[in-house]
């Protein structure tokens, strides 16, 4: 772990798991979890032990085996292990049921068909009396909802009622975290509702009331409460839009964005980016704060603000926004960020360019600063525009072509010195 190679010990770890002694067995499983991965050649030795332990009478052995299943299972093992795991969904111990549900979640990610055949069993787990098991089932149901939303829409009333019970503090007190009832369950339910309500008015209408209630109760001044509010905002922007809820979401986001806490400002900027996609009007009142965030010394906040600016662009402010993005493209060194910025500038220029000369100039800047990160289609589009013109006015087109050729000649001369341009200047010279 600290960097020393320990591969000599792996086979001993596997042998330890065969031991009857629980102490040795747990240590063996722990070491295997840490060192092996699902394609390791020693996995075959483990499969038999895991199958035996999954059927053992001692629930702690079952738990250790299930934890390893979650970590190490691969495609070949699933037919052998999945029937045992599905049987364990009905085990009397709730710890075992909980881990079995999460193992099912892992199976779904690897081979979805195994789980879809057993949908009814999983839905039964949703009604499990123990809240932890119910919470664990939400993970699987979330993945199923993302993959097959239509099939899961009938579960929306159950999710809404569970969320209602949680916010009314009807779960045991153990699940309260800093006086918020079961925040992780709330967030998970909210994300499932967001997935299921997308573009569906009827389903979304079921959720409006509970979303409002959830946001109101989460407003408690603790970090966890803010996390829930943020998730509510995300959900509201995904489902069929409702004016009242959007107002509520926007007012919460304004509070975040003007707060002193850096984390809240980050969440505010991200949340505003999502609200703006649904209804651009809300961006206008926060323009000054957004500009402030752009000058913030915090790198992460700056990136998120650039993302927000990208979504807030319209034909009026495109020149200013692209200026800011180009400035950051010039000064940044991180290759992921630069590729991202180059893509954003290209897409904004193609969508909102006020005139052709500005478009050519902007694209030239992008090629000059990050030519190797721009895909080839962009350059071909540009050349096509220059060669064919807009077809409206011949004289204007000719003037534009002359302008384009001049800029490329200038750039071509520089290219001979700098060599950053991928052969773009050549087609321009043909005219």
């Amino acid at each position: 772990m600290l960097g020393h190679d320990a591969s000599f010990a792996y086979i001993h770890a596997v042998k330890l798991t065969h031991e009857k002694n629980l102490f040795a067995k747990r240590i063996g499983y722990l070491t295997c979890n840490l060192f092996l991965h699902r394609d390791h050649e020693l996995m075959l030795l483990l499969i038999n032990t895991m199958q035996r332990d999954l059927q053992s009478a001692n629930h702690i052995e079952v738990c250790s085996a299930l934890a390893s299943v979650c970590r190490l299972v691969n495609v070949e093992m699933i037919p052998a292990i999945s029937p045992l795991v599905f049987k364990l969904l009905n085990h009397p111990q709730e710890a075992v049921r909980k881990k079995a549900v999460i193992a099912v979640h892992k199976f779904f990610k690897i081979v979805p068909e195994t789980v879809l055949d057993q949908k009814d069993q999983i839905r039964k787990v949703l009604c499990d009396p123990d809240p932890s098991v119910m919470g664990a089932s939400l993970h699987v149901l979330c993945e199923i909802a993302k993959a097959h939303p239509a099939a899961s829409k009938d579960l929306v009333p159950s999710f809404v009622s569970i969320l209602k019970q949680i916010t009314e503090h009807r779960l045991p007190r153990d699940f309260d975290y800093h006086r918020m009832p079961a925040p992780w369950l709330q967030v998970k339910l909210l994300s499932i509702l967001g997935v299921l309500g997308t573009a569906d008015k009827a389903t979304s209408e079921h959720m409006y009331e509970i979303l409002q209630e959830c946001m109101r109760r989460a407003d408690s001044g603790v970090n966890v409460g803010y996390a829930i509010i943020y998730e509510c905002v995300k959900c509201i922007t995904k489902i069929f839009p409702d004016h009242g809820l959007l107002e509520l979401a926007a007012s919460n986001i304004s509070r975040f964005i003007s707060s002193e806490n850096h984390n809240l400002r980050y969440l505010g900027v991200t949340g505003l980016a999502q609200i703006v996609q649904v209804s651009p009007a809300y961006a206008a009142e926060h323009q000054m704060v957004v500009v402030d965030c752009l000058e913030d010394p915090d790198e992460t906040l700056k990136r998120k603000t650039l993302d927000l600016l990208f979504r807030m662009t319209n034909p009026q402010n495109v020149v200013v926004v692209v200026d800011k993005l180009s400035f950051h493209l010039r000064t940044s060194v991180d290759s992921h960020l630069r590729r991202d910025l180059a893509q954003k500038i290209t897409s904004l220029a193609e969508r909102f360019a006020p005139d052709n000369e500005w478009y050519v100039n902007t694209m030239n800047t992008v090629f000059e600063l990050s030519g190797e990160l721009v895909p080839a289609e962009t350059a071909y589009n540009l050349m096509r525009l220059v060669a064919e013109g807009t077809g409206e006015d011949d004289a204007a087109d000719n003037a534009f072509r002359v302008f384009a050729v001049n800029t490329y000649l200038k750039a071509g001369r520089q290219m001979l010195c700098k060599n950053t341009y991928p052969d773009r200047g050549v087609p321009g010279r043909e005219n």
């Binding site: 600290l2 991965h37 934890a67 984390n263």
Partner: protein, 152 residues
């Protein structure tokens, strides 16, 4: 889902690492080096989230240790911080005023607790009492086994 959890000291030593997606050893070490250098160089006044490759790193400093959780792009970052805090609170309850030395000498127990809280990158148990109850059950059973072995 959470991709991995890392605990590193202020000097950059790894105290605990748990990957929830398959990742070969070499890549793990490369990732640890990159991530530690990124996070140890952050000033305390900036926000606790960092974008790295396609993921987000949520980190928090507790005394001399940095707890780092790597989440996917569409996950709730503040919730990841709370998950890490939940883990720290469980450790604190179990060890009683936990410090870095406890984690160095009893790293296997720290892993057991982490396994009770997080599986496959998702939170499985949000009730501290249930987590500690399971761990103490397992400890008791292990101790019984040990005593039986010594007698036999």
């Amino acid at each position: 889902m959470i991709q991995f959890i890392l605990l590193i000291s202020r000097q950059g030593k790894t105290r605990l690492k748990k990957w929830f997606v398959p990742c070969p050893e070499r890549d793990q070490f490369r990732t640890i080096k990159e991530v530690s250098s990124l996070i140890l160089s952050r000033s305390p006044k900036v926000c606790n989230f960092l974008e790295w490759r396609d993921y987000k790193l949520c980190y928090k400093r507790y005394a001399s240790l940095f707890f780092i959780a790597c989440v996917e792009g569409n996950d709730n970052e503040l919730l990841a911080l709370e998950t890490v805090h939940h883990f720290v609170e469980c450790l604190d309850r179990y060890f009683g005023n936990v410090c870095e030395l406890d984690l160095i000498f009893n790293f296997h127990k720290a892993y057991y607790i982490l396994d009770e809280i997080l599986i496959s990158g998702e939170l499985q148990e949000s009730s501290k009492r249930a987590v500690l109850h399971h761990i103490s059950e397992q400890d008791a059973m292990m101790q019984e086994n040990e005593q039986a072995k010594r007698k036999g």
